[in-house]
Amino acid sequence: MEPLLTYTLRQGDRALILAQRLLEVITHSPEIEEDMALSNLALDLIGQARALYTYAGELDGMIDGASRDEDHYAYWREQHEFLNPLLVEQPNGDFAKIIVRQFLHDAFAFPYWRAMQQSTDETLAAIAAKSVKETAYHLRHSRSWLIRLGDGTEESHRRTQNAVDGLWRFTGELFERDQVETSLLGDGVCSDPDQLRTVWLLTVTEALDEATLDLPEDSVMQTGGRSGRHSESFSRLIGEMQVLARAHPGASW
């Protein structure tokens, strides 16, 4: 597959799969305001995924001349064709886990989109300029919850630290670089994962410190999502996401 197409799908899948996880939480949040907040986050992420999938459809079409819309990528691909990092597909648990997963992601996504505004690819730069504004709000939200929970009660502190420790091993994949990034970096299409990791770590270290939480020791990082190797729970996630479209192709309401 073309590097630019793979790259675009990785970003689109990151947004869509995290949105799908957030949508599972709706009506289960600790308070109604949080149901609205998480669904707002999910809506923004779906919007970003749609823009990226539309672009992927154009890139795909240049290769084989076929026409694919955004729904094709969301509903008609198989599990191994999704290229999101493993972090965003991690199943929901208690509210601390949902917030920590979001924060670790947002601390990546905000500087990522900020940097991508400089991409030499005009479409990606335009999507970045739009997404960076939305993502700033996401990071403000997840960061403030992280601090409330970490610096809250003994129980909320314990749960939040557990979530940080449990999800840490999925953060390395966000900054991986394979031949896709390497070939695009040369043309100035994508941002530098190493620089991004430095910014991310600073944001995370500062927030954890303010939340009175400990930064985990670096251990072995899990990887595979960006190459289409997913965890068991992922099959249930896309099963639910795709069932309606597959049972009723072309359905509208």
């Binding site: 609205m36 707002n40 905000f110 739009k130 700033a136």
Partner: protein, 158 residues
Amino acid sequence: MAVTASLDAVVREIEDPELPHVTIGDLGIVRSVTIEGGTATVLLTPTYTGCPATEQIRDDVAQAVRAAGYEPDVRLVISPAWSTDWITERGHQRLLAAGIAPPPPAGEPGVTVVEPPIACPRCGSRRTRSISHFGGTACNAPYVCNACSEPFEFFKAL
């Protein structure tokens, strides 16, 4: 030219489906209206990428263009990205009249931005507090006024 100007005015007067009495012209999301032959091309900038109102606005614009006797070609352009700074002065007044506190200047997107005190759209007091970062629509956040106790929506700077 006169025809384009009048269609342009019609399009800009279409109301936003989620903000009472605020038009899409007020919101600053209409980029251009051009007529070529029997086709009218309208370029719109979406507010938020995932805003569900975008589809409704597209349909409303297409319907208005058709009613004016043209074949509609409505396109979304995301660059340059929409900013709340594009909301017109009349838009600010209409938001206020609808009980929604208009946005402060947008500035650079940031994480540790300190929101200026938001004035209550009902009593004008600046003793207000945020209830949540996100509200019932993508562009609003719920606030409550400590002075008059009324809840209200704040249009977030973007």
